[in-house]
Amino acid sequence: MSPLLIVVLRVLAAIGLMLANGVVLIYMLRKVLGHLHVRLGPMHMGPKGVLQTTMDVLKLLTKEDVTPTNVDKVLFFIAPALVFVPALMAYAAIPFSETWRITDLDTGLLYSFAALSVIPIGLLMAGWASANKWSLLGGMRAAGQQIAYEVPLLLSVLPVVMVVGSLNMSDIVAAQSGLWFVIPQLPAFVIFAIAGLVELNQTPFDMSEAESELVAGFASEYSAMKFGLLFLSEFSNSFIMSAIGVTVFFGGWMIPFVPAEVMQPVAPVIFMTKVYIGIFFMMWIRGTFPRVRIDQLMQLGWKWLIPASLAWIMITGLVIKVWQLGPGAS
């Protein structure tokens, strides 16, 4: 096969995975939230309602694409694409197994975060272009909280990078063959989990779309598949964040005490299972916690998470140095 064809096929595979994820995750969210609220969730389309989101996608595709009169037409049109493309880009560096990945980047971890960091621009653009106070507020909240929490998010994975000595996602997974980093790096994981939830605009940090206050925020003027793209990227981002978490803190495709050769054939399945467990926890949090206030969110970020992550980087650095001078000196 020509190398160009392989590249095209890989990109198509990423799009396919993203779309499939979106459909599955929306169904999962409805079911999980339903059962948490002692409801049944969707039940009518197909057995136990499994076809519900497929039908919803068909509905979104066939709806009229309304463009309100006063919107900033160009930006209104670009914004969903600007949210969707980085979300798709972020799939490129995720290692599903030792051989299953789209690319093997030396800077994989940084690449994923760089891709995710472009998304708030799209939200801001959507909020501005909608020519609607609520949308603008939603977009600005999204941008504000993502800018604020990018710092602790990046700082929280830094100790792991220091221990491994590489930004390559495969190296990070390989370094966890003995012990998952979640145990020695528990404080880093806690910071990562909180900052990750904020980055995803997930409840309890979903001020940017808070239905009761902002009428879905930046997405409220969008209809049909433009809305679909905004929504799809959001679900895809929770997959990406969970995948980064699994890779960095939960040993990627590996299971402790099982040799890597045994797991090789089922590695992608293990990885996907772990990622979906992570997403289940996010939905659990979403179903049980109330929303915090925006000033509380900012206080938590700047006054607690950033100093805490800096302190943890210092501690990790000291431990590594002592280890290098002492027991690991040989």
């Binding site: 900033d72 760089a114 960091s117 621009i121 501005w128 504000g144 800018i147 990018e150 000595g165 930004l167």
Partner: protein
């Protein structure tokens, strides 16, 4: 084959970055200007990528596109009282023309009098670990400039906090 692909990619990215810069100046809507700036920054990240400077490209994307331009847009949107204020008239006054002339002649003199350094691409691209070692080498490294830069940023940060405190009274 590789040469042509690189050439085409360079042409697209160069056009995009210069076009973005022109867009910043030419658009009368300040918010649009902000988004054009973002486009120029992303295109420059692409140029870095074309030079195999992967790390630099990602940092450019993360810091300049992901943070600086968002901050800029944020401030612009926050300070606009009304949506219509975003559109500004073009300034045709004499002072503007003088300023443009001065700036243009400065750039022209700069290009005319100094040779633009041209460097060959190394045959193998150093990886990130090598970059880190060069940056933080104990002798001849860039630790001191790095620390000075971070100190300057810290001073700016403290200054901003102090400034906003004064405002509150």
């Amino acid at each position: 084959m590789g040469e042509t692909v690189n050439g085409v990619a360079f042409a697209i990215l160069a056009f995009a970055s210069i076009g973005g810069a022109v867009g910043v100046l030419a658009s009368r809507n300040v918010v649009h200007a902000g988004f054009w700036l973002l486009e120029a920054m992303v295109a420059v990240a692409g140029l870095y990528l074309l030079l195999s400077a992967e790390f630099l490209a990602l940092v450019q994307l993360l810091v300049y596109a992901g943070a600086v331009s968002v901050l800029l847009l944020f401030v612009v949107m926050l300070t606009l009282r009304r949506r219509e204020d975003a559109v500004r008239p073009l300034d045709w006054s004499l002072s503007g023309a003088v300023l443009a002339l001065l700036f243009g002649s400065m750039i022209y003199l700069g290009i005319a009098n100094f040779d633009i350094p041209v460097a060959e691409m190394p045959s193998t691209v150093p990886d990130i670990a090598a970059l880190g070692e060069i940056l933080f080498a104990l002798d001849g490294g860039w630790v001191l400039p790095f620390e000075i830069a971070s100190l300057v940023l810290l001073v700016a940060l403290v200054g901003a906090v102090w400034w906003s405190k004064e405002d509150e009274k």
